[in-house]
Amino acid sequence: MTALLEPGRYFADGNFAITEGALVGGCRFFAGYPITPSSEVLERMSERLPKLGGHFIEMEDEIGSMAAIIGASNAGAKSMTATSGPGFSLMQENIGLGIITETPTVVLDEMRAGPSTGIPTRVGQGDVMQTRYGSHGDLAPITYAPNSVQESFDITIEAFNSAEKYRQPVIIASDQVVGHLSEVLEVKPLEEYDVVQRMMRKHDDEKGVFSYTEDYVPMFVAGTGFRGNVDSLTHDERGYPSNEASVEKEMLEHLLGKVKKNEEKIVKYEEFLVEDAEVTVVAYGITSRAAKQAVRIARKKGLKVGLFRPITLWPFPQRRIEEIAGHTREFIVPEINYGQYSHPIREYSRSETREIHFPPGAIPDYGVILKEIEGAFK
């Protein structure tokens, strides 16, 4: 069997890193539909998966891709798809299917300029709220936003782990720049990576398909003799559909609760000079790298500014933002969109929040962020 990526240093791009990270994370099934700028993930998967005894299929569309990876996961394979905005829109319904059927899987949404077809080859960050509220009904999504090639690799492994731990589709909201920029990728020996293996239900388990009293129950997988029913309708613990509001309440509180209760374990962020910051910049993905540059220069000018970078966009790093709001009088949220993540920041910080709207299509100019920082100190 051809091995996974050899340990070492690579000059690689984000798409390469995500693909190889997924394979380390245990991905053995990929279904997708080509779309700029994530197509390289699909192409590389088509070459790599068969060598590892995995399976690759190029589906007829993104709707089918999302359905196929949920199907594959229910048949026991760790699965993934990769897309960009237009495809991600098409996947929303079946992301909801993954949520209600508690099926682990990973979805890469490499954000590009929108709306609609937008500029396929250029960056955007306009899907941030779609990763949160895109699928109908209440849900508690887990979304990661890597900002480097190294993090693209590491976070994909973590995304697979989270998918297994919390049994739901996990989204990686990368962007066109991170997907396509090349820089160093250091790969450690395989045994140094924690990979969560799927916990499977035993066929003689007396319990139902789901459990609403435990956060985690091992998953039943087709063909193992469990003979259970998995339903996209609101269902009870046996997996049987129900029209009762009480069952909906029980199920939904479990689906939301398993993420909410483990928020502290899931939430990840990086901070740069935040401790004493009077003004805090909040930025994610490629924008965070421009923001870091701006913060660095502003500090040299004596301005007490810090950078908070959410790595998990969702669940929202609520507790930490509230804490920072204790000593920060103002937040600045630069994004490659017209104001999305700024809303929860404003809501949870209850502080003055400036928005910087970078139009999709280009890497943000850090000078603009710097000017805004300076403005906040005037």
Partner: protein
């Protein structure tokens, strides 16, 4: 040290490959490097370009502060980028495709990459000739690292490409300072 390099060409000339090889070789030499790429929506016939930032420290912002080098295989690349170059910059062009104006203030070196690659019976290797020339000229990465990067990337066509690289290197060294 913080250098900005732009590579520019037409789709199909292997500009992105060239930039990746330069990046890979520079990384081999223990430096930090980041590369962003951009291309027109047309698969062939359009333009493509890559910007590299090379530094001794980790790099946050992926775009160059200023451009110190331009490597171009197209006139368009020359015309659009020349205005953006920092003073004291160096330009490396493909002789047969780019005409450098007489009154050019910046240092510019013309290499006949296409001709050389054809003479070495590797007509697709013009970008590799320029890679060699860039190494010889700037010493930003060593010839050894360049060879290693090529070997890694083209395991099936090592010899033909190394030949191009080395001829390019010889040309570049002539102009080296």
């Amino acid at each position: 040290m913080n250098l900005g390099i732009r590579m520019y060409g037409m789709g199909g000339q292997g500009i992105i490959t060239l930039a990746k090889l330069v990046g890979e070789a520079t990384l081999e030499d223990g430096k930090f490097v980041i590369m962003t790429e951009e291309y027109s929506p047309y698969i062939t016939g359009g333009w493509s370009k890559a910007d590299l930032v090379i530094s001794d420290e980790t790099i946050d912002y992926p775009l160059p502060e200023e451009l110190n080098y331009l490597v171009t295989l197209s006139q368009e690349g020359f015309d659009t980028t020349v205005k953006e170059l920092a003073p004291e910059s160096t330009i490396l062009t493909e002789k047969s495709l780019v005409t450098v104006p007489q009154d050019m203030k910046l240092r510019s070196i013309e290499i006949g990459g296409i001709e050389i690659s054809k003479s070495l019976k590797n007509p697709k290797g013009a970008n590799i000739v320029l890679m060699g020339a860039f190494s010889g000229l700037t010493k930003i990465f060593s010839a050894e690292s360049g060879r290693r990067a090529i070997t890694k990337r083209f395991p099936k066509y090592v010899d033909a490409n190394i030949a191009c690289f080395e001829r390019g290197y010889e040309e570049g060294v002539k102009y080296g300072r």
